[in-house]
């Protein structure tokens, strides 16, 4: 049961993080295309925001690992 929960959870985590980082990438490339001279600042902001999403996603991933290994059950 823990393994099933971990599998489903990992899938949802990947889904959420994928949507989030995809949206950042979309808007970043759009803004770089619109204003190429600001590409440095935009890239910095992109990495920072992606790091926030990654943090939340990895928190979910760690919980999935804990479920899969049966720690705490």
């Amino acid at each position: 049961m823990g393994l099933l929960a971990a599998g489903i959870g990992a899938g949802i985590v990947a889904l959420g993080a994928g949507i989030g980082i995809g949206m950042i990438g979309k808007s970043a490339t759009e803004s770089i295309a619109r204003q190429p001279e600001a590409s440095g600042d935009i890239r910095g902001a992109m990495i920072l925001t992606a790091a926030f999403i990654e943090g939340v996603a990895l928190l979910g991933a760690v919980i999935c690992i804990l479920l899969a290994l049966g720690i705490g059950s």
Binding site: L48, G55, V62, I65
Partner: protein, 355 residues
Amino acid sequence: MVQALRRVLLTFFFLSISTSNIFASASDASEAGEEPVIDVMGTVADHDYFKTPLGKIYLPRIFYWENANGESSVSFFSSTKKALASDEFIESEEGAIVPAGGGSIKIDFSITSHLLYYWFGMGLAVLLTVAAAKRYNKGVGRDVEPKGTFQNIFEVLFLFIRDDVARENIDHHKADKYVPFLFTMFMGISFMNLFGLLPWGATATADLTVTATLAAVTFVITQFSGTKDYWAHVFWFPGVPTWVRAILTPVEILGLFTKPFALAIRLFANMLSGKIMIIAILGLVFIFADLFGSVAGYGVGIFSVSLTVVLYALKVFVALLQAYIFTLLSAVFIGMAAEDHDHAEEEYYTEHIAE
């Protein structure tokens, strides 16, 4: 071209010899009735030994413990085996070490592999920085141009942290005060992450205790650099009705702690997942060999080993990126706390709109 091809063939030949040895030892183990198991968590967990290319070096165990009568004392042993041989400590059923005559271990001060790699990483950062500082004191880089590869790379890194991380996010007249801290964090975490990529190394940052300690340092520095405005925004948010403050104050107080918590979890989970991913992809070889025979194992091996090589290159990038992100977010949090606010807008609001 021919030479390169010959080299590849030779490498493959040597590899196949050594892998057949591994297979032979694995089949010996299975004949003896033991299942060959890949210990995934064992490779990322903390250990009481330190791996070198020549073998394991066991590390000292230091316990602050209390016996059954309630008397506390400190015991020092050069290794876990010595501790178990001394009759004072026995191994419990869960594999933990407990005092033989009852009682409990209050604080375990033992030196572990992750702690050792933490010291290596931070020590190397200090060594390089001191070496560079000596050169600048002599005048190289101040009066004349910086000389040599080391000083040039150092200067690029240092200016990157000072200009793009510290001065960008912290108020300009305060930023330089925090550059030493940020640079130590960046170098130390980079080295700790990169040490984990050594074949026998351990990733200290793949341990929540290490990252939590680093985040706690950031937390303390953030709170101590907080201005009056910062604390006003936490406890008595300006410019909002009083009943809103009843909601805002708990949220803001919670926010103080979630920031370093996220900082610790991000670094820890990134390093841990990178390590587990490589083991999982290499583990596919053995899963396929188990399911469809050793030929399938060899076939999958070609893909998984080349994928692992690519992942390793990615991990070098991620190691530096995570150190950068940790430093950047530390700078952002400190900058938010140390910011001097412009009060013109708030005063305008309280004077003209609030009534």
